[in-house]
Amino acid sequence: MADANSDTSPTPRRSNRRVIAWCMTGVVGMFAFGFALVPLYDVFCEITGINGKTGGRYEASSTGQVDADRTVTVQFLASNGPGMSWEFRPVTRSIKVHPGEPVTVNFFAQNPGDTPMVGQAVPSLSPSEGTPYFHKTECFCFNQQPLEAGESTEMPLVFIVDPELPEYITKLTLSYTLYDQSQHIEVSGPVGAGASTNKNG
């Protein structure tokens, strides 16, 4: 650092190279860091459960204990992403459940258009503090949903509210946004061909 001050200092040309090398390392490192933020962000959200991103398929079919003394209200919302023309709504809008019991609800979807289409639902849970305690054992959002012109379907969701859910949370709201994936379907099989490591489901 202070070598320019002494007479035995290396020639500026050489130490310039060194400064450039250090700086370029910083530049390349920070560029990589920018991209590293993408997986880091997903991991961070998954660990902390913030952001309402619910996890993938929950493997156990029940969490063992059913806490029959406690009831939690679970509400369902469904909305269309931009440009999506389907009719999409929850069959059950609100349900009271006991933590620990597996519950099945259905969502209705219909393609009113005259071409086959493919939809992908993306879930989000609120309040986000509840996310780690909301387990889906079966969800239509794990896969894309193709519908022929005019076709309609009922899509199941099986979930368990964890008995560990903090006491102060008495109500959970699960909202789905349905996106049109028809044009992406030839390009790439599964969604998330891009950046995200997160197969929402």
Partner: protein, 534 residues
């Protein structure tokens, strides 16, 4: 180009007799020059041109907001104006102006013959006009220029952006490369070319603040490049970094952007801190109070600036613990900032003050920048920010830190060093007029915005509810006044470059530093043998 010639001719004349070769003749001098003074002048002239261009867009904005209703432009074009105004002012006016000052002054302040990497210096300048040519040309493209705000949030800029967005991304890439090359050059110069005996803690504060700014640039410009690269891929290559339907997340964009964005606002103010320190000390005829604490304060501000970014995102949905963390971390920045303001005021205390133009701008800087700091503290209160966010209060805040902060800092520096650059004194009466008109215009334009914001007027809208009419009209009048006044600055600088009272080597009796040991104008080549530092 005529201005360019005039601006530099004074510098070029006086030392053709030196044994060094003088500047080349004609246009190739400017295209090929590796001289830090030539490049510094080009940066400053370019930045002023961008200041006028971005400023005229602000005039369009304020003209439309003069009255409620839509009179002059359509909402689509209005949005293009706010976007381009912000981008041009940040990347085209403020940042290049400071790089220009660095080019001119750093070698003179540390006793170096030139910048350490003169050829790279030439490239990093010439990339800038290319980048802005691309950016400005988007105005004439189909679908118009970018219209999503200078913060270019996804999905506004990805899914809903105009076709020109790809050119915008390209322009940002080029600007980023230019800034990074400039920063490397500055670090290499400061690290390797200081005169013997100038230890780190003897460096002038402008040198210190620029060194730290250069590190900030190296740390965050690549992150910005990453953000726009992700956008580019989302738009053109079918990825979904920011697209929820593909598993991405638009909120991620805001995190990446503000990780760059908050340090960026300090990139625009730290060099001004340095310059103001010299000016306050010179016109108080006292050494700067608390030199070491100034250095540490700047370092602390720079470090803290990396852990406060989410104060721009309180309303986006940050968990409670996060809100508290970012709230307190943000408020913590006020402490080193307070140290700096305290030191400036203490430097002036019991000094033999005179108020030439540089000092007027410097004192206004201290007062008005503090107002901006206070409104920043109000915005940092997470629960209160839900009320203020995306209103004109935010617009008032950042214009109070950027106009009397960054821009007044640049004006103060320009008047302070113009005699050194041109060899002539500028016209003091005109300069004082420039100050007072700028001061009044700027306050008229931006102070009412606080009230508008508190009353709930959203930012980035071309039309507004009737109850906001009066304050908006005052604001527009102030803005026109401020804008027109800047033509006076152009006139003063051109006049000073062409002639005027001869400037002595040290025109300000309280000024300190190696640059004042050189004749005015500073010869084309300086410190070819390093000076002695006592």
């Amino acid at each position: 180009m005529a201005v360019t010639g005039v601006f530099m001719s004074a510098v070029a004349d006086t030392h053709s007799q030196e044994h060094h070769h003088g500047p080349a003749k004609g246009i190739s001098r400017w295209l090929l020059t590796t001289n830090h003074k030539d490049i510094g002048s080009m940066y400053l002239i370019f930045s002023f041109a961008m200041f006028l261009l971005g400023g005229s867009m602000a005039m369009v904005i304020r003209a439309e907001l003069f009255q409620p209703g839509l009179q002059i432009v359509q909402p689509e074009f209005f949005n293009q104006m706010t976007t381009m105004h912000g981008l041009i002012m940040v990347f085209g006016a403020v940042m290049p102006a400071f790089v220009g000052l660095a080019n001119w002054m750093l070698p003179l302040m540390i006793g170096a013959p030139d910048m350490a990497l003169p050829r790279m210096n030439n490239w990093s300048f010439w990339l800038l006009p290319c980048a802005f040519l691309i950016l400005v040309s988007t105005l004439f493209m189909e679908g118009g220029a970018p219209n999503f705000g200078w913060t270019f949030y996804a999905p506004l800029s990805t899914t809903y952006g105009p076709p020109s967005t790809t050119f915008f991304i390209f322009a940002i890439h080029i600007m980023g490369v230019s800034s990074i090359m400039g920063a490397i050059n500055i670090i290499a110069t400061i690290m390797n070319l200081r005169a013997p005996g100038m230890t780190l803690m003897k460096m002038p504060l402008f040198v210190w603040t620029w060194l730290i700014t250069a590190f900030l640039l190296i740390a965050v410009m690549p992150v910005l490049a990453g953000a726009v690269t992700m956008m580019l891929m989302d738009i053109n290559f079918g990825t979904s970094f920011f697209d929820a339907s593909g598993g991405g997340d638009p909120v991620l964009f805001q995190h990446v952007f503000w990780f760059f964005g908050h340090p960026e606002v300090y990139i625009m103010i730290l060099p001004a801190f340095g310059a103001i320190s010299h000016i306050v000390s010179a016109f108080s005829r006292k050494p700067l109070f608390g030199y070491a604490s100034m250095v540490y304060a700047v370092g602390a501000i720079a470090l803290l600036s990396f852990i406060v970014w989410a104060h721009h995102m309180f309303t986006v949905g940050v968990p409670l613990a996060g809100q508290l963390f970012f709230m307190y971390a943000t408020m913590l920045i006020a402490v080193p900032t307070g140290v700096k303001v305290f030191n400036w005021v203490t430097t002036m205390f019991r000094g033999s003050l005179t108020f030439e133009a540089p000092m007027l701008f410097a004192v206004a800087f201290i007062i008005l920048f503090s107002i901006g700091g206070f409104s920043g503290l109000m915005l940092a209160i997470a629960p209160a920010d839900f009320q203020y966010h995306d209103t004109y209060f935010v617009v008032a805040h950042f214009h109070y830190v950027l106009v009397p902060g960054a821009i007044f800092g640049i004006f103060a520096s320009a008047y302070f060093w113009l005699p050194k650059w041109t060899g002539h004194m500028y016209d003091e009466t005109l300069a004082k007029t420039h100050f007072w008109l700028s001061f009044i215009g700027m306050n008229l334009a931006f102070f009412p915005m606080h009230f508008l914001g508190l009353a709930g007027m959203p930012r980035r809208i071309p039309d507004y509810a009737l109850q906001f009419a009066d304050f908006n009209m005052v604001s527009s009048i102030g803005a026109f006044m401020f804008g027109a006044t800047q033509l006076l600055f152009l006139f003063i600088v051109v006049k000073c470059a062409r002639g005027g009272e001869k400037a002595p080597a040290k025109p300000w009796d309280g000024a300190e530093g190696l640059e004042w040991t050189l004749p005015s104008p500073a010869p084309y080549h300086t410190f070819t043998t390093p000076p002695d530092i006592k």
